[in-house]
């Protein structure tokens, strides 16, 4: 999504506008939710950091809609637009989110996999689509894709594939009247409060609750699920040993079993399996299943 934000930011500058784009990283490992912000203006931008009330929210993974730790639509007002990579249609998204504003929902991940062959390329598709919805010109968006993919160090064939994906991603999309409505100034009605002294039992950064990391279900991070072919599996334990998250356990007869509520889909097991007994299958969850996965 950092690349998506950079495609939009670069395209805006190529159009003679002022832009600011910024990703936010945490300390999480690969696959964790990541956000990025883009501001576009005709005058110098006097803001920094997160955007409390965005005109357009782009979501690359529809399971994030239901993640209480992410809440990507939290700042989206009723007239704001939602751009979503999902195998579900726009009507299903409207029904699921209740969002009354414009919704653009397509299987951008499927496009990326078909045209480029990597899930990461979904960021190219979404950057292009967001640029079109924001009213940035096609030449600027194309130049931005070329520039940002080159800046990632991709070889020429991968850049060409990205440009083909860009054409597929923008097909049929038209600019929305983003920012036409005055901003609801989020946070403007907050109240500044006093912070009182607390005893060190509370006021020092300690955790006394029982270990709760296992309660954090990370299965929704997965774009692909590893599936073990038990006919070919030799019970060698390699997948069990290599899994960085302990998401594979061994049954009494040494048969490996993936815990799909925890597995993040890193596919290290697939790469490590000596007899190639693990394959990947793309995840397309139903809304209900996504909810149940928590």
């Amino acid at each position: 999504m950092k690349t998506a934000s950079r495609i939009v930011g670069t395209a805006a500058v190529l159009e003679g506008l002022v832009a600011q784009d910024s990703p936010v990283y945490g300390a999480e490992r690969r696959g964790a939710p990541l956000s990025a912000y883009v501001r576009i203006a005709r005058t110098p931008i006097f803001e920094r950091g997160l955007i409390p009330a965005p005109d357009l929210v782009v979501v690359a993974d529809d399971t994030l809609l239901d993640d209480p730790a992410v809440r990507p639509l939290a700042g989206l007002g009723p007239t704001g637009a939602l751009l979503l990579a999902t195998a579900h249609g726009a009507d299903a998204v409207r029904a699921h989110t209740g969002h009354p504003g414009p919704v653009v929902a397509r299987d951008f991940l499927g496009l990326a996999l078909a045209e480029v062959g990597t899930a990461a390329a979904v960021s190219t598709a979404l950057g292009v689509a967001a640029g079109v919805l924001a009213g940035l010109g096609p030449d600027a968006v194309t130049a931005a894709v070329r520039g940002e993919l080159a800046a990632l160090g991709l070889p020429a064939p991968a850049i060409d594939a990205g440009l083909r994906l860009a054409d597929l991603a923008r097909a049929g999309l038209a600019p929305l009247a983003l920012g036409a409505e005055p901003h609801e100034r989020a946070g403007a009605d907050g109240r500044v409060v006093d912070v009182a002294w607390a005893p060190a039992e509370t006021g020092a950064p300690t955790i006394v609750a029982a270990p709760n990391t296992p309660l954090r279900r990370t299965g929704s991070w997965r774009l692909f699920r590893p599936v073990i072919d038990l006919e070919r599996c030799t019970r060698c334990w390699i997948c069990f040993v290599r899994c960085p998250d302990g998401a594979i356990r061994l049954l009494a007869d040494d048969t490996p079993r993936v815990d799909y509520e925890v597995c993040k889909g890193c596919l290290i097991c697939l790469e490590e399996c000596p007899p190639r007994a693990i394959r990947r299958e793309r995840e397309t969850r139903t809304w209900a299943a996504a909810g149940a996965a928590r």
């Binding site: 930011g9 006097f46 409390p52």
Partner: protein, 411 residues
């Protein structure tokens, strides 16, 4: 048609500053959110795009030793760190400043442990404020690259000869891209010229002792106070260097920076990248008819006492928003500003706030609270107690975390 400016992060801008300064040596050690700077310089060095030698050391302590030692041979040296790394190297910050070696260090601000975090406030860089390094604090990515060049020019000036820190905020500048105009290499070269010191230029055939030991206090006092006098010289040298820079690029930097100050009766004082949000707060207040302006602290060491006094004398009320915390004392810059204003007959009411710790958002409600307090102070003379900027929603968020941690929620 001129080419549009490049979209660069603050980290990329810092690396470009070192590249344009044509540095000779870059001792490095990684730390978030700084690492991209030395990674970029290492890539350029490996590709032969810059002449600098980039060497990874085993710690920031060693890194700063290497930086000072290389600078003591007359090399132009650049290095970068952040937060815990700066603190780990703190002993050497003091030590190499006394060697009078004008190297430049970029600090990417990040709150210090504990609790450990990644996002910015200025407790790291301000811990180094007494170490003998000049300090320039940048608001934008453009200012980062420009300030690295300015820093070399001021630090290397024979009237100064002290090292310099250029500070930029982690995340809000380090990873944020903005349009940046890069000075041409020839312009930067003409601006800086070659660095050819005589006071620190160890050669095999020309031995000299540097950083010698002294006892008894008199010699120590003399040499330490020489650092102070040299730092004070940097005020005038910075103004000259900034004027020369403006002549070449059209971009002018003051010791302090003002926004809508001309007719401001109330002033908000901030520094670094969150000052950009202060500009928006000034614009909102102006819409409501409130005569608010912004003063941004840019050069923190030497402390530009006169420039601050001139900017604030005669105003009705001034609110200093420190994005730092001296535990047990409060905000750091507000006490220095109070010192600058103390002898001023027309000194304003002075309000103290601490906000944005660990990169915490400073939202409209918090700025509105400051404006409310400023207006009250101007009208009644009443100055509220120093305050942490913290909202009801944030208190609720922390309360939820405390409950998750198995602790009784605080009020």
């Amino acid at each position: 048609m001129t080419a549009p400016p490049a979209m660069l992060t603050g980290n990329a801008a810092a690396a470009w500053g070192a590249r344009l300064a044509d540095v000779d040596y870059v001792p490095a050690f990684p730390i978030t959110p700084q690492t991209e700077i030395v990674e970029q310089l290492a890539r350029w060095s490996a590709a032969g795009e810059i002449a600098a030698r980039v060497v990874t050391l085993d710690s920031e302590h060693s890194m700063l030793t290497a930086a000072g030692a290389a600078a003591a041979t007359g090399a132009r040296v650049f290095t970068a760190t952040s937060s815990q790394g700066l603190l780990y190297g703190l002993e050497l910050l003091y030590t190499v400043a006394g060697w009078r070696v004008p190297l430049v260090l970029v600090n990417v601000s990040r709150g210090v442990a504990s609790p450990i975090t990644l996002e910015p406030d200025h407790d790291d860089v301000l811990a180094a404020r007494d170490a003998g390094w000049l300090q320039i604090h940048a608001e934008t990515c453009q200012e980062v690259v420009d300030s690295v060049l300015l820093a070399y020019r001021v630090a290397e000036d024979p009237r100064v000869r002290l090292p310099a820190i250029v500070n930029l905020d982690g995340f809000t500048l380090s990873f944020t891209r903005e349009p940046v105009e890069l000075p041409a290499a020839a312009v930067a070269a003409a601006y800086l010229g070659p660095y050819a010191p005589r006071h620190t230029a160890i050669r095999a055939g020309r031995p000299m002792a540097q950083g010698v030991a002294v006892l008894g206090g008199a010699a120590y006092s003399y040499f330490r106070y020489q650092m102070h006098l040299a730092a004070e010289n940097a005020l005038a040298v910075h103004e000259e260097a900034a004027a020369a820079f403006a002549g070449l690029t059209g971009r002018r930097y003051g010791l302090v920076d003002g926004y809508r100050l001309e007719d401001a009766e109330l002033v908000l004082v901030m520094s670094n990248s969150f000052a950009t949000k202060g500009r928006a707060a000034v614009d909102r207040a102006r819409v409501d008819g409130v005569p608010l302006g912004l003063l941004r602290l840019r050069v923190l060491r030497p402390f530009p006492r006169d420039a601050i006094r001139r900017a604030l004398a005669g105003r009705q009320a001034v609110a200093v928003l420190d994005q730092n915390l001296s535990v047990g004392a409060g905000g750091i810059t507000v006490t220095e500003i109070a010192h600058a204003l103390y002898a001023e007959p027309a000194r304003p009411r002075l309000l103290a706030y601490v906000g944005g710790l660990g990169g915490k958002e400073i939202g409209e409600a918090e700025f509105r609270r400051i404006v409310h307090d400023l207006r009250t102070a101007a009208a009644t003379g009443e100055v509220p107690a120093p305050r942490l900027l913290f909202t009801e929603a944030e208190a609720a968020q922390v309360g939820a975390l405390l409950r998750l941690a198995g602790k009784a929620a605080a009020s």
